[in-house]
Symmetry: C2
Subunit: 337 residues, 2 copies
């Protein structure tokens, strides 16, 4: 992901009537099985959905909220049952969240086989790949919407392509977020995703979930942004390597530069920097931090944390803004003034 | 469906660079099994998809066009295969179509159980029903997109809700069609559907496929509009009743009034009118004709025809504009000047 900006955007976007609490990214690695084509990590997704429900309904969250997915289950012939509670229940106050998810083992196969990200819709393979990619990612989106709805979250799938979002030279171009704001103001939780979109300079490309989050963060100004991933946070080198150190807090300065403030890296600092840079050529860790730093620069805390853990629960419910427990594992990226 | 108008709309919509050939409605009754909850009429859908492919690629249509749905088949563990033809094929000239489908046995259960069409999102049952309805209709949309893609049609699912379309007093209000136009101009076939949407006067409602078609017809000015249904056309009474007569041609006048011109109903005219009116209270046939007449009034031929028949093939490929075969079965609704 290259550094991008949204200066092309000339649309005046509305601001939600009540502030957005959180934009949460469900990382592809956390909710799908990375090495199995089009396979959802059902267990993680269920825990994540329960944690999100708890954070969204802090007052009234119950173990068994009435589900909102009334589809016929595969193989079942009878009509789905609707929880009676829904008929007499009061609407609970819902914290405003936006969910954005990555693709994981969905879409990547189709996109990489056809080169959708490189553009060129006059080539049949790119055009077909565009169609195939959208089929795959919209299927994942529907499954995530259903998983959230089953836990009682009023989730609404919204595809960037259908929203009319497009790119120019692979940077976010036009993005009217009014449909997202309207959905939030009506009490729904929009669920967006990385998508194949039109690009004015190269016909088409892939708009990643991370770029969407950065754009939405700038437009919606949430209290905090959470990236749920499959490791405990950002490390100084690939976490599988011996001696890898979890970077617990990264301070972002007003000029956009950043530095690791916890752990204090002291004399090793230089070496860590080199390792980080080396890692970046393959894994993009510096890029990842830089992306997060651009959000933090807006005064929005960013938490990178392992999905479906006690640590993700703490990050999602926002308590890190006031207090970081000693034993909390994850990376906080925060503006210092 | 009540008579509606789109005068609320203040958006200046773009016009596609090349004229749209056809807007085709896949009626819910034609592509789903009406009495079986969330069940697709696979056989009909496959034939309809093949017929659409033939009409869209009149020069190069082949029996086995390379498919564009590369999802993992249910239960299959291996990677999907991509037709080699896609790598060396030339992009064929594609006739511009827009597909809109109804809900049939999808969405109706969820919408009617919760009263989404009546609005009132402060009631938990309506809010949950809204979520459940969208899950059901977007699932159907994805399956239709996949069926079309399997036949080589570059289909792109677009949900009215995600497009930001909304209603006011249940009439189409804001509807920026630029994302639809951009998809068409990029060589894709947009596939829209009846959807649960926000309504400025009653929070939410159901935006039907028929209303979408009328709006798109006015904005996109296609050559003709085809309604694919499960009977041969419009009859003077329910087609299951003895003596029901297929209305083969209805003339629409510039003031919006209409009359049956084939068959010539002669002396029976009055009685037919009464039967029609009686039928309308339950089945909405006069409403159906009135809706079609509003499209025909724009100078756009409307064909109502049974899906997946030789008659639907003739309607879809547009040859009725010039010549109606003696043995063609269906209803033509056309402006006379």
């Amino acid at each position: 992901m290259e550094a991008q900006n949204s200066s092309v955007n000339a649309i005046i976007n509305p601001i939600p009537t009540k502030p957005i609490r959180c934009i949460v990214k469900l990382g592809g690695a956390a909710i799908t099985c990375k090495n199995e084509l089009e396979t959802i990590n059902e267990e993680n997704l269920k825990i994540v959905s329960k944690q999100l429900h708890q954070a969204m309904f802090p007052v009234s969250a119950s173990e068994n909220a009435p589900g909102m997915d009334w589809s016929k289950r595969s193989g079942a012939s009878e009509q789905p049952t609707i929880n009676d509670e829904l008929f007499d229940q009061q609407i609970s106050d819902l914290e405003k969240f936006v969910v954005v998810h990555g693709a994981g083992s969905f879409g990547h196969f189709q996109a990489s086989k056809s080169g959708v990200h490189k553009g060129g819709l006059s080539q049949p393979i790119v055009k077909a790949g565009f169609v195939a990619t959208r089929i795959s990612v919209t299927f994942l989106n529907l499954e995530i919407v259903r998983a959230l709805a089953r836990e009682g979250i009023p989730s609404i799938g919204m595809s960037p392509f259908s929203c009319g979002w497009s790119t120019c030279k692979r940077n976010m171009a036009e993005a009217d977020v009014s449909m997202v704001v309207n959905a939030i103001d009506s009490g729904f939780i929009p669920v967006l995703h990385g998508d194949a979109v039109l690009d004015s300079s190269q016909d088409c490309t892939i708009l990643s979930g991370d770029v969407i989050i950065r754009y939405l963060a700038a437009e919606l100004k949430p209290d905090y942004v959470v990236f749920l991933t499959d490791v405990f946070g950002v490390y100084d080198r690939p976490p599988s390597e011996p001696g890898a150190v979890l970077l617990r807090e990264i301070a972002v300065h007003e000029d956009g530069s950043w530095s690791v403030v916890n752990p204090i890296l002291g004399d090793e600092n230089k070496q860590v920097e080199i390792t980080v840079a080396a890692h970046d050529t393959t894994g993009g860790m510096v890029t990842k931090i830089s992306e997060a730093a651009m959000i933090a620069k807006l005064g929005i805390d960013v938490y990178i944390v392992k999905a479906a853990t006690e640590h993700s629960m703490i990050a999602i419910n926002g308590s890190l803004k006031h207090n970081t427990p000693e034993d909390w594992l994850g990376t906080i990226i925060r503006l210092v003034k």
